[in-house]
């Protein structure tokens, strides 16, 4: 059982990578060169490793934002929109309150993102509890609404002329860049947002597995009837679960807004919310395992940029999809008692 939990995602990732390399062959690149380039340029240098960790940071947050509600029986497809709304609130706080000193400004920015993302995330939870509207469709629709809403405020009042970015945030809100402390990571976007993300993963793990709230969520995932027997309030629990997920995704925007560019830019999430679904799943929605899973997708995300000289970088999206498909197929088979070669 334990080995199956660990091995299946690894096997899925390996098969997915090999399949991706063969696919690269169809696009006229030698499969072995494709793999060597993908892995060598990402894990083979300080800059590459820094970039992988940089790209993994938002995925830890969005992975958590998917995993937490999943354990309560809810599927959050809205991390993309939640991260965007949170990041925008974070930037507004950092711009308007720029005179607030040092760590306080950072705290206010994070709190703004937490609140905004949390409210955005709680909406589908509330709608589900109140009207039965399916959270999958609602979160997807809200992603589009979030993009339009943020874009409106950005273009109307906050964007610098001829750009899609805000002004720079007050310096008190910036998170330290790794390349300033360790020359090893020179040039990469890695910042103290990473340890922050790791702390969030540990906190979520404790919350989910060691707290009464986490216990209630797990009861809720067993169905409404069971939750009512336990005298729980399903509506409140779902709203809380989705709200917290949204808050985590919102705070996740710190990897870019506070740690990297120090401003909000349209499109900075670049699909982190959607990849977060894959990250959460491959970690079997166990918060403590999410950083590891995020690392794999960090490699793929950075790898997409480096293989662009050989094949269109979008092939990496196909690899992500393949890994997901292979994983859920193997997982279903092993649940039914098959695949002894991995699971025994």
């Amino acid at each position: 059982m334990t080995s199956r939990r660990l091995l299946l995602p690894v096997v899925a990732a390996a098969i997915g990578l090999v399949a991706g390399a063969l696919l690269a062959g169809l696009f006229g690149a030698r499969p072995d060169r494709f793999l060597i380039l993908l892995l060598g340029e990402t894990l083979g240098s300080g800059y590459g490793i820094g970039q992988v960790l940089f790209k993994a940071t938002p995925l830890i947050f969005t992975g958590l934002a998917v995993a937490l509600p999943f354990r309560a029986g809810l599927f959050n497809i809205g991390a993309e929109g939640q991260m965007m709304v949170g990041g925008f609130a974070m930037a507004l706080a950092g711009i308007h309150l720029a005179s607030v000193p040092g760590p306080w400004l950072w705290l206010l920015c994070v709190a703004a993102a937490f609140l905004a993302g949390g409210i955005w995330g709680a909406i589908p939870g509330l709608l589900k509890a109140r009207t039965g509207a399916h959270e999958v469709i609602v979160t997807i629709l809200l992603n589009f609404v979030a993009a339009a809403l943020v874009n409106y405020f950005l273009s109307r009042s906050y964007a610098l002329p001829d750009t899609v970015r805000t002004a720079t945030l007050g310096e008190g809100a910036w998170m330290a860049r790794a390349s300033d402390a360790f020359g090893f990571f020179r040039g990469s976007g890695l910042s103290t947002a990473l340890p922050f993300a790791l702390a969030a993963a540990i906190a979520c793990d404790l919350l989910l597995l060691r707290s009464p709230l986490g216990f209630h969520w797990r009861i809720l995932s067993g169905g409404l009837r069971r939750a009512r027997y336990a005298r729980l309030s399903p509506g409140l629990l779902s709203a809380l679960s989705m709200g917290l997920a949204g808050a985590i995704a919102g705070v996740g925007s710190c990897y870019y807004v506070l740690g990297y560019k120090h401003y909000f830019e349209e499109g900075f999430t670049s699909g982190s919310g959607h990849v977060g679904i894959a990250v959460g799943l491959l970690a079997r929605n166990r918060p403590a395992a999410i950083p590891v899973s995020a690392l794999l997708f960090g490699v793929l995300s950075q790898g997409g940029l480096v293989v662009n000289q050989l094949v269109p970088r979008e092939l990496v999206d196909v690899i992500v999809a393949a890994i997901l498909m292979i994983f859920i197929s193997l997982d279903a088979r092993s649940r039914e008692g098959g695949l002894r070669w991995i699971s025994s």
Binding site: F144, A278, A321
Partner: protein, 304 residues
């Protein structure tokens, strides 16, 4: 009068892909298979229509390629979820992620452009003659593809709700064990329903590509998801789903007509999504999905 006709024409034009995807999705979900993959199916089939037409010069071949692309994407979904009994929502999402990547990568490889294909047709498709009298409306509803779409929606509605074949599909979604006990394979019925649904949605992709006369990157633009909302709003009945699609298309037409009148475009962009949300949360109430939806079926396993 002209204004009304042209507004109706616009609604009809926008509603076609929504309706086809919603009807295709209904077919799939009534058989018990959640189909979030419709977004990717729409995208792949629009791409298929473009490549097919550009490489052969014949729009009929393009439509055929679109149907094939839609059906084969749906077949992948069916193989993984129905035969492989894997999670249906995740499979659908993976297909969507993969389709965005694959169509973009192929766009670069085939036409060396990251954003769009060359023009598909030299001349637009002419409407069937008798509809010419209806002016702008006739230009839309007289198109062979529109008439085909209308026919498909009607036929599926009738087949699904009023025929023996439809009964099999619905049984697969409500009581798969009972269907199995009666000697009909659940896996076969579900696979057929999903693939046929994909082919129908593929027709919607062809419509998108021909309307724009090119394939552009990510051109499905969330339509698959809106169509899913319409399917739920229509409570998994094809005709009601089409009605919901008309409502969403009307909302989008209002959005387009209001453009440039001082209302910020971003608010206008939100209209279809907000209408979809309002309909889902407010009007529909608790829509009851097919009983066995989302649950893989395996012979001998208890239904729980």
């Amino acid at each position: 009068m002209d204004l009304l006709l042209s507004a109706l024409a616009q609604i009809a034009r926008i509603a076609v892909p929504y309706a086809l995807v919603a009807v295709g999705g209904t077919l799939s979900e009534r058989s018990g298979v959640v189909n979030i993959a419709l977004e990717g199916i729409l995208l792949n089939s629009a791409f298929g229509a473009a490549v097919g037409t550009i490489s052969t010069g014949s729009p009929e071949a393009g439509v055929l390629c679109a149907i094939l692309a839609g059906a084969s994407t749906a077949l992948l979904h069916a193989l993984v979820t129905v035969r492989g009994r894997a999670d249906q929502i995740v499979s659908g999402l993976a297909i969507n992620i993969g389709s965005f990547g694959a169509t973009r990568a192929l766009l670069k490889a085939l036409y060396s452009s990251a954003s769009n294909s060359p023009r598909i047709l030299e001349h637009p498709i002419e409407p069937v003659p008798p509809f010419g009298l209806l002016g702008p409306l006739g230009d839309v509803i007289g198109q062979p593809l529109f008439l085909a779409a209308l026919l498909v929606c009607l036929v599926v509605h009738r087949l699904l709700l009023r025929s023996g074949v439809g009964l099999l599909v619905r049984a697969a979604g409500e009581r798969p064990a009972a269907l199995d006990a009666s000697g009909v394979g659940v896996v076969g019925v579900r696979t057929m329903a999903v693939v046929l649904g994909g082919a129908i949605a593929g027709l919607g992709g062809a419509w998108l590509a021909f309307q724009q006369n090119s394939f552009t990157d990510g051109m499905s633009g969330g339509r698959g998801y809106i169509a899913l909302a319409a399917m739920i709003a229509g409570k998994w009945k094809p005709a009601s789903a089409v009605a919901a699609c008309l409502l969403f298309a009307a909302a989008e037409t209002v959005q387009i007509r209001l453009a440039g009148r001082g209302i910020p475009t971003q608010f206008l962009q939100m209209i279809p999504y907000l209408v979809a949300l309002a309909v889902l949360a407010g009007w529909v109430g608790r829509a009851v999905a097919p009983a066995a939806i989302g649950r893989p079926y395996r012979r001998g396993q208890e239904e729980g």
